[in-house]
Symmetry: C2
Subunit: 180 residues, 2 copies
Amino acid sequence: MARGNTKRLITEAAVQVAAQHGISGASMDQIAEAAGVAKGSLYYNFASKDALFEEVIRDGFGRLAEAIDAAREGAEPTAAPRAVAAATLETLRGNLDLAKLMASEVFRTDRPWAGAMELARSSVVVRFSDVLRAARPGAEITETAGAAFFGALAGACLDWLLFRPDQPVDQVLDQVLFGI
Amino acid sequence: MARGNTKRLITEAAVQVAAQHGISGASMDQIAEAAGVAKGSLYYNFASKDALFEEVIRDGFGRLAEAIDAAREGAEPTAAPRAVAAATLETLRGNLDLAKLMASEVFRTDRPWAGAMELARSSVVVRFSDVLRAARPGAEITETAGAAFFGALAGACLDWLLFRPDQPVDQVLDQVLFGI
DNA sequence: GTCTATAAGGAGATAGAC
DNA sequence: GTCTATCTCCTTATAGAC
């Protein structure tokens, strides 16, 4: 089995296991079993459990940042908040385990990977702030508004996918943006 | 030492430890040490680690629900969203460890205490939805909007307290409510 | 009602065969 | 590059003294 593929198997299994139990509650044994590889292979491909999850975190937020950028490119500034929100909801829906994992670990500030986490979170928050600013040239918009927008999307999206999955995505979008 | 007091010492220590490491990562040994009691006392006062955190969860969301109700009572319907948002920010600021804990565990659906968690979360989401509906009699507002409002407040509040603590609370409030 | 001591099993990580 | 076997420490929970 090629190394690149094994690494991907491991990170995907890590996401799946940690979405249920949290990073602390996810054991390397469980991850190895979910990935279908031996525990030794985890430690060949990653220096430690912390290094493994640092990569998971970077990948996860990176994927979200790319989706935001793509959605923003194709939209007028005033329409961009809705386009970006839609892209975010779709990305989170397509990576539900990752979304749960991010939501549960994003505000942890005292772990080895906390620096990488804050860098990744911040890059997404900045994107949201920029989109809001461009849509409302007059308003005073700081990164706190971006954090609020991000929180609104994450909160509504997980409420939707976990507890009210029958809603159409447009309805969720309307509810998130009802004031914008 | 009276039993009521010991229980409170334990729950407060549990919040403090779990805010850092998550519930899975918080050990009963750490909690006992932080509470200043022996581990045996934890198991005298609570049937298990899961039972302990079920009480922590119920207490936490109960406190938030009370603050929301109090803020709503004293405000006109159109001013209620801001009043409720302010009360929420103040409550979370006064219980930062609890806020971190709630944010990180609220979407966990496969734990023994998941039922209690969803009941508690839902009671808060319903309150937010009601406040928004009363403020905008014409609009179609579902509980998803309440979940989004809750998410926006939690996201902005933790961004504020953890990474931009110098902002005045009114400015945070303005950023969260900029579209409402 | 709170303590100490301990049981039984799971954790992260490593060594060495293949 | 992946495996199995193993080390050591930490985990939840219980038993029984005080």
